[in-house]
């Protein structure tokens, strides 16, 4: 189960994580809905595009030390782009999401994966994530509540193009 667009839904995407012995160019990408690492997308692009032409949906995920710009011009090819949070305190994923939404104009599903906890989800939602795969062992129904922690915000971000001072009469 994941949270997507503020609902809890079942999910059949598989996140492909490379084992130490796997090489991006040779790792087997299983059939079905797979979110592949950026390195696999870059190394196996032709084969993955062929799959897409046959009707398969593509997903890709970025590590926190990779940059959104690596997908420049390609974002519309993906049904899902995921950003991995190796530790919940690693905040680079917030800027990656901001870039995907605001600079690369990605409009599809943007999913937070990895060390995803409810208390970070409100900010994640604001920078552009609309899907969350909370860390295993956490109550997903409880997590959903956090998306409504605040009903008003000061700054612009991916969710609000206008800062508060331009949106309301203060």
């Amino acid at each position: 189960m994941i949270i997507k667009d503020k609902s809890i839904i079942s999910d059949d995407w598989v996140v492909l994580r490379l084992a130490e012995t796997d090489a991006p160019e040779s790792v087997n990408v299983p059939a079905g809905r797979v979110i592949v690492p950026l390195a696999v997308w870059l190394a196996q692009r032709d084969a993955l595009e062929t799959r897409a032409e046959l009707g398969a949906e593509l997903g890709v995920w970025l590590q926190s030390d990779q940059r959104a710009e690596a997908l420049q011009g390609d974002v519309e090819r993906f049904a899902v782009i995921a950003v991995d949070f190796p530790r919940f305190g690693d905040g680079r994923g917030y800027s990656i999401a901001y870039h995907l939404r605001n600079r690369l104009h990605y409009r599809g599903e943007l999913r937070a994966i990895g060390d995803v906890l409810r208390d970070q989800m409100f900010y994640m939602q604001r920078v552009g994530f609309n899907a969350f795969a909370p860390r295993a062992g956490k109550d997903i129904h409880e997590a959903l509540k956090s998306l409504d922690d605040f009903s008003e915000v000061y700054q612009a971000s991916s969710d609000e193009a206008q800062p508060l001072f331009r949106r309301v009469e203060r």
């Binding site: 940059r67 919940f88 305190g89 690693d90 905040g91 680079r92 917030y94 800027s95 901001y98 605001n102 600079r103 906890l117 208390d119 970070q120 409100f122 900010y123 994640m124 939602q125 604001r126 920078v127 922690d149 605040f150 009903s151 008003e152 915000v153 000061y154 700054q155 612009a156 971000s157 193009a161 206008q162 800062p163 508060l164 001072f165 331009r166 309301v168 203060r170």
Partner: protein, 580 residues
């Protein structure tokens, strides 16, 4: 006057309290682990110290109203031990809180338009400001409306809650920098260009701690409309590229030094292209709305007075006028510094009684407002010169009129080993010992301007690197020792002090200071300040004299009087603390 919350500020603050109340509930029930909870509590100002939880309450740009100060006194009585500690970031800390009370403290603060948002954690911290903003004679631009703009922008900024490390802004609008802008991650100096338009000179990458660095200019003039987008680009580049592998190398200063200011500037400007002139550009209407809160109070039309002449022969009052009373832009008024540095008190501490009384003084003499200084004192910014004598008499009774502002005993001091889990050594007892050794007002006035800063560890909360004399607590084989630096300075001539040599025991430090001062007195010209003599003759004569003969360890200073832990305060275990 000061910024007042509108319905949106109230709503956001109330929802923050509710959010944290739920997080505390989940921590107490075990649903959240301490590791998961730590970041959440820090972003609400809550630390776990040696004895209990400590809350650092934000005092945005150092400005407080009398009702807010009364609430701080109330909080200290209800939840703490009848006192608070004002900090070098113009905040106030309560040292003895229980975790389960923290949400109620936040709710009490919210009732007077205060909070503890982002006073810790790897996020944008409380923005500090010139304590004489709006009243200083050398002010070019009142920085407070811009500081409030940035406060709102940085509050719960969704992209910058989990930066590589903490991030500090400081701002001044005067020609003389009283906000230490050169030693903050971003330093902003409000200026006017040739057309008279307001903008900011922007410094980046300053900071103290393990690697002290003076900030570098990244932009000579950013027009005020663009200050949010420009700051956002700096923080974004830092968030993306700042180091996260080593917490000692994760501040923005390390990134700026690693890639160079030219490359850093290029990256910032590259990012800024996307947002400059976009929706986050500040509107005139928003600036005017905020600036309208900071209008001058209803000053009377008065003439400047010769206040000292009105009390002939009163040397104590004259001393106070000389050190604690500062010039004001309006004739007939003065700004008054209430000293929290009386000998025997922990520097920066104020009791509940003092806080209530300070609020009373503010109501009576200064339009109901106070400021907190980064030197850990309080300011009444708008006092009629004709009322200075009455104010002095009342402040004296409250132990807040020690005439030592800017003098040796106006010590900047961190909580140190008595409270802080990071400290290597005690700093408050050392500050008390030094104050006692040099407790002679004529001697202090003769020595004149001298910044003495004492940090209990290398994190440098007391800014020891920029003290004219800096003292740093270090640990050697389980014992506390103190390293002495000289030649540091804050303000327009910011400099990092240099270590004079091997470190000293607690009991040796006062004698070390005495020797440094003896060299100064021997070498100075007329009214030359300590720091100026040092700059002129260099550090060598000071070093040679300090180490020339053995320094006796003054055992008398190590007694129970200087040991907080033995003063009979009931330092019991906190009600709930996973440390124990």
């Amino acid at each position: 006057m000061m910024y007042r919350y509108d319905q949106f500020d109230h709503q956001i603050t109330a929802q923050r309290v509710a959010q944290f109340r739920d997080q505390v509930r989940r921590r107490l029930s075990g649903e959240l682990t301490e590791d998961e909870f730590r970041i959440l509590r820090l972003q609400n100002g809550l630390y776990m110290q040696i004895h209990a939880y400590m809350m650092r309450v934000a005092v945005p740009y150092g400005l407080l109203s009398a009702p807010q100060v009364r609430m701080l006194a109330h909080i200290s009585r209800k939840y703490d031990r009848d006192y608070g500690h004002f900090t070098t970031r113009q905040n106030i800390q309560f040292n003895w809180l229980k975790l389960e009370d923290a949400p109620d403290v936040l709710a009490d603060l919210a009732s007077v338009e205060m909070h503890a948002n982002q006073t810790s954690g790897n996020c944008i911290r409380n923005i500090t400001c010139d304590e004489f903003a709006g009243v200083a004679r050398d002010e070019i631009v009142d920085p407070r409306p811009y500081a409030e703009l940035l406060r709102q922008w940085s509050t719960f900024h969704p992209e910058f809650g989990y930066l590589p490390r903490k991030f500090k802004f400081a701002m001044t609008g005067a020609t003389h920098d009283r906000a230490a802008i050169a030693v903050n991650d971003i330093g902003l100096q409000a200026v006017r260009n040739e057309q008279g338009e307001v903008g900011f000179r922007v410094l980046v990458g300053g900071g103290l701690g393990r690697t002290p660095v003076i900030g570098t200019e990244i932009a000579a003039f950013v027009p005020w409309q663009h200050i949010i987008t420009y700051a956002e680009s700096i923080v974004r580049v830092y968030n993306e590229h700042g180091r996260r592998d080593n917490m000692y190398k994760s501040r923005i200063k390390i990134l700026v030094n690693a890639i160079g200011i030219a490359e850093f500037r290029r990256q910032v400007e590259e990012d800024w292209k996307f947002t400059k002139d976009g929706p986050c550009t500040v509107t005139r209407a928003e600036l005017d709305r905020i600036a309208a809160c900071f209008t001058s109070p209803a000053y009377e039309s008065l003439a400047d007075l010769d206040v000292a002449a009105s009390q002939p022969g009163n040397q104590a009052f004259a001393n106070w006028l000389h050190r604690n009373v500062k010039p004001h832009k309006v004739a007939g008024y003065a700004a008054v510094v209430l000293s929290l540095k009386k000998t025997g008190m922990a520097p920066g501490d104020a009791t509940a009684r003092q806080m209530d009384a300070a609020a009373e003084l503010a109501d009576r003499y200064s339009f109901g407002e106070l400021r907190v200084t980064h030197m850990q004192n309080l300011v009444l910014a708008d006092v009629k010169q004709s009322e200075l004598f009455a104010l002095w008499q009342q402040a004296s009774e409250l132990d807040m009129a020690t005439p030592n502002i800017g003098l040796l005993t106006d010590i900047i001091c961190c909580p140190g080993g008595d409270f802080c889990t990071l400290a290597n050594a005690r700093s408050i007892p050392l500050a008390k010992a030094i104050a006692k050794c040099f407790d002679d007002i004529d001697f202090l006035h003769d020595i004149g301007d001298l910044d003495l800063n004492i940090s209990g560890c290398v994190n440098a909360c007391a800014h020891h690197h920029v003290g004219h004399i800096g003292i740093l607590g270090v640990e050697k084989s389980g014992e506390e020792w103190y390293q002495v630096t000289i030649g540091g300075d804050q303000g327009n001539h910011s400099a990092i002090g240099k270590v004079i040599g091997r470190s000293f025991s607690f009991g040796q430090v006062p004698e070390v200071l005495a020797r440094l001062l003896q060299v100064y007195v021997r070498e100075r010209f007329d009214d030359e300040r300590f720091i100026d003599t040092l700059r002129r003759i260099g550090a060598d004569p000071f070093k040679e004299y300090v180490y020339a003969t053995p320094i006796e360890d003054c055992k008398g200073l190590a007694g129970p009087e200087y040991d907080l832990l033995k003063q009979g305060t009931p330092y019991d275990m906190p009600y709930y603390s996973p440390r124990f």
